[in-house]
Symmetry: D2
């Protein structure tokens, strides 16, 4: 990881919690905000963590994007799985360097990116999607984040067929995950981990009942409430508004019959 911005790279320009942007360093272009504009050419060679002043005198900090920045900035339209849920699922399943993971659906590639980031360099993500327009968008997002080489983007429906065998983990973010449970079972190695993310209770019930009826063990469901705290001496309190629900996470591991 180089310590300075280079042409063509992505950076985060951070002013405050609401004003922070994922920007590609294109010399010759300007980046405009309500706090003034920045000549992107000035970023080249700047060390990460440096401050840069806009035309209106506001100081943005220049940061190298983390994998979480890519998730939060890319594809909000379709994305429902938040970093908090992804982090919990990663550790729950033990998905890490070297893991071979099946994912469906690809969507905008947000979860795909995080999985690729964590299984690299020797692991691999097999990501299924039935809507080809999403696959192309995910490909661009993965390429941008430098993670495409760890992913096999597949056009197909895991409810119909999963090509892989003996994978370490499967993660589903689908409208009807219960229909994929049988194929997930076939694709996993013994003891391999299953995770499904669903917004509604009814999806969870159907998925969990399918898991129990199909040789899975360690079946459990959780939800994660993340609350932000405003911290300041004398005025510390949780924020008034919070995200009260993203979805439920159901986990299981394959037992051999």
């Amino acid at each position: 990881m180089s310590g300075a911005c280079a042409e063509g790279e992505d950076v985060i320009l951070y002013l405050d919690e609401r004003r922070n942007y994922l920007v590609k360093v294109r010399p010759g272009q300007d980046f405009h905000t309500d706090k003034g504009f920045i000549h992107l050419s000035e970023l080249v060679g700047l060390r990460y963590g440096s401050r840069i002043t806009t035309s209106l005198g506001n100081e943005f900090t220049v940061l190298k994007p983390t994998i979480r920045d890519y998730v939060m900035k890319a594809g909000r339209a379709t994305q429902i799985m938040y970093p908090k849920d992804i982090g919990i699922a990663l550790v729950h399943l033990g998905v890490g360097p070297g893991s071979r993971v099946v994912e469906a659906g690809t969507g905008s590639g947000a979860l795909t990116s995080v999985l690729a980031y964590y299984v690299k360099p020797s692991g691999r993500v097999f990501s299924y999607e039935i809507r080809s327009e999403f696959t192309e968008r995910a490909r661009r997002n993965l390429e941008r984040a430098g993670l495409l080489e760890y992913v096999e983007l597949k056009s197909g429906d895991i409810i119909v067929k999963i090509d892989e065998r003996d994978v370490d983990a499967i993660m589903l973010d689908l409208a009807t995950p219960w229909l994929g449970v049988r194929n997930a079972y076939e694709a996993l190695r013994g003891g391999g981990g299953f995770a499904s993310f669903s917004p509604t209770v009814e999806q969870v019930v159907k998925t969990v009942e399918a898991l129990r009826g199909c040789g899975f063990v360690c079946v459990e469901t959780v939800e994660c409430l993340l609350r932000r705290i405003k911290v300041k001496a004398g005025e510390t309190r949780p924020e008034t508004l919070m995200i009260g629900h993203t979805g439920y996470l159901s986990f299981a591991r394959k037992g051999l019959r």
Copy 2:
């Protein structure tokens, strides 16, 4: 990852949510539970995911431990950082394969293990601890989990000194994290990530004020409430008892002054 149990390896013997055990496969020994005993020699050569029957006729599933199993089973005495908090912090900081991370204190090595698992093979964890008895215990836990080679266990106090420079991230699980903020700043690369885990509000306030006064940006604090759901058609409901608090997570990134 081999598909079958071998002598000297760890396995999880799983019956249900309350009865699941981390056991080393030592042929010649028996493992006793309130549901009967298991001859450990019978585990050798068994494929992961298989079932094994106790002397009383109960079927345990044999699973390869995940990194989460090691966290949940090892060192509960001192451990306060749960897998949910670790997962959220990992993704928030972007700690992954290749990351160089400073951690303090080592404690029983639970967080150390997860960090090592995720930075391997090319990254490295520098873990500081001032109580030497903990360092030895952590060394055993890391060795057991096969992760010792990715960790440098250091006897020392990060409040006094951090030897490393340009590290990607720092994670503190200390009684007085605010006293480590200045040294953390010096050790991090520009834009590098800081996380601190603290049970009390007062710790959080002091740490956040120290971060703000010291050149950090993107300062924020969250708490994660994980709620387990009992899922069964017709009887679905959150569990009656839950862990209502583990600790607060405070995050920041180093801005250059």
Copy 3:
């Protein structure tokens, strides 16, 4: 409300959060705790709020029981509706002095007591129960709390029939509340409030769908998470364990068709 303890009255003897007891003042008897015993005769004439010393030298505070004390101390075996849920429902429905309220089932009379306490002196609670052994127990609990005169304990099933008409509110704490929705509609005055308390999601879905299909408006469902905070300068934090679920509250008001 008299300011001093009298023979035959109930008092709360409070040492700390775990050691506090609802005790009837029976001169001639002793009350034993793990912190020593108290001669109950010494309570007579004591002002509420006073301290009394046990045989082992521990000081209990003598308190007049609130309606919440009666709820928390009586009938834990069957009770699932907590004071937090009752308080929220009372204010949501506007049940107060003068209200005429139908309740089912009576159970141990915990909710009945609170309703009676709040509708007195001119209101009335009509409480239905199909299990006669519960009715008797509830009668004793109501008598003990001095609230029996505001309650009509009825042996019957509101799913079959509700005798009253034009009541201000109906509160159900039943296994199958959706079966009572039609009769509840008939019994309520126009605009009258309905509340149902249910532990499972499936109960909620059936009840809400019944309410929507039956002329109710303002249909909504909430759950209340009450978290206790340990407060002490320098050590303030939410408690580790909390009640993660008691039940869902579904509310509605009768619209005329």
Copy 4:
């Protein structure tokens, strides 16, 4: 409680969760919404619960306002204590018919209204406010809700002086509640209940420490998270956005020294 709308009364006109209004029945006037207007004269004589059709053909339901409707509709500018918090505090303190309660500050009179509603007909609320413009506004709100006769609106600072003695309960919704703890103690009867509502942790810590140092027992602090559930067969889930924080409730009872 009469069953039909009369001239000069308040009604709630309810279309859905977002479109519901507190309106005074003034014949000769129209009430305009984005779903059409209503001739208010048509409301006179209408039974509560009836539907009324707007000029654009939308059906509103006509409801008699509950005390909660008054809280939710009046004085949102200053109000921070929600019905959920008020309901929990009422039951916790046992404030009910006949109770004598001191409150500070009056603010827009939202909490005052609920207290008055619950202590009537024989109880009384003594409500202190130092900002006279608020007192006038509260007077209008109480008059509108028909509850003024149960309230004594007082211009004064409870930190300086509370005139009443032997009151059953005291509720504080102040910026500096800890400064009122000593006077609250003097005003309460033995065993009487204290509640304070505060948004920040620092307020809570100071208040609780003051309570402990001043002869109060049963000191405890809670926070209430109310989560709304979207209920529909096949699509049941908690709402995405929720109020994550209103304030902390600290409770205590007066022990005699």
